[in-house]
Symmetry: C2
Subunit: 215 residues, 2 copies
């Protein structure tokens, strides 16, 4: 590697630091605004204000509103897929599915905005991430269905339809993020406490694990 190239790399790294910090600032603000207003209702001005930057600066880092939105959706999708690790490496459904429920409930708690953005995107027909649904998500789903079917064949759980079990897991865990406002309203207007989150996790796991005969 010639010296000039190394210099360039260092310079790039430094530049990248500023860039990354601002991109993070913008992405955080965007995630929140997109979640609370939807793509159509979100404005670049609102995101800029929340990020504490002038609007023109947003367009310096993200050329268009769509590009910014795409990045937000991709980010949450990656977090979402990471929860799969809880699923793998488990020999029995109680461990695998129980761990998956815990992981996804934790995501709902820690990333409620991202979860809502994802939900809204899918509800509107996934105009931006349709290819992800057809490739990554489909592969992921097929793989887990095989795992669950294996447990059924091994007599470790009742012979339910694995696909609908997966849908139930997704639905139930995401509900605590997507409908968090409704849940909060029904909880005397207060967010769920630590104890209540534990109770929610335990309740979901209890019903589902017993429901599939793995309790």
């Amino acid at each position: 590697m010639p010296p000039s190239a190394q210099v360039t790399r260092i310079k790039t790294a430094r530049r990248t630091e500023i860039r990354r910090e601002n991109e993070r600032l913008i992405l955080d603000a965007a995630e929140r605004v997109f979640a609370e207003a939807g793509f159509g209702g979100a404005t670049m001005q609102l995101i800029a204000d929340l990020a504490g930057l002038p609007k023109a600066n947003l367009h310096y880092y993200f050329p268009t509103k769509e590009a910014l939105y795409r990045r937000v959706v991709q980010n949450i999708f990656e977090i979402w897929l990471d929860a799969a690790s809880s699923f793998d490496g488990a020999d029995d459904p109680a461990t695998g599915i129980g761990g998956y429920i815990d992981a996804k409930m934790e995501i709902s708690r820690r990333h409620p905005f991202g979860s809502k953005v994802w939900a809204a995107e899918v509800m509107q027909g996934a105009p931006v991430i349709q290819d992800y649904l057809e490739t990554t998500l489909k592969d992921w789903t097929d793989g887990r269905i095989r795992v669950i079917q294996g447990w059924i064949d091994a007599g470790k759980m009742a012979p339910i339809n694995p696909r609908h079990l997966l849908y139930m897991l997704w639905a139930t865990t995401q509900h605590y993020a997507d409908f968090g406002h409704q849940i909060e309203t029904l909880n005397h207007g207060k967010p769920l406490s630590d104890r209540q989150w534990s109770d929610a996790k335990a309740s979901v796991k209890a019903i589902i694990l017993r429901g599939i005969g793995a309790a």
Copy 2:
């Protein structure tokens, strides 16, 4: 009743007929557009085109975009509450909850657009129907929780947390509407067939009813 009043009533009835027909046309179009684009992304022009009416005509029947949206949300909320009847008048959880699942799955199938509008509204903090959540929904929820608790006390089902059971019912059944596009994509791009809908209903009921010890 004086004759003049009768005449007025007939006239009103005729007028109302036209009015109701056009309102229905507009509301159907609006429900679809709001579901597919969100409130912010929806435009009066789009709704007008889908309804086959000039845009100015929409403003004759609904003064503002918000008024139109409010009506759409109220409509789905009423349908949604009607499913409660399946819940009442049941003496055991298998009948009551099983019937409720059937009813809500049917709503997801027949009113996917309304379901999505409702979901988006709640996800964005229920700016329009917050009062419904605090009054009607809260009362409804408290009532069903008492019913479920009664079943538990009578030993008809396992002692799970009724509130989280309700959330699971809502989440799972609405998922088939709100995430219908994702489900369709994972179903080789085709909508669920009659058989697949039956399978979904049966799977959901099987897991939940067994999960609460009422199978």
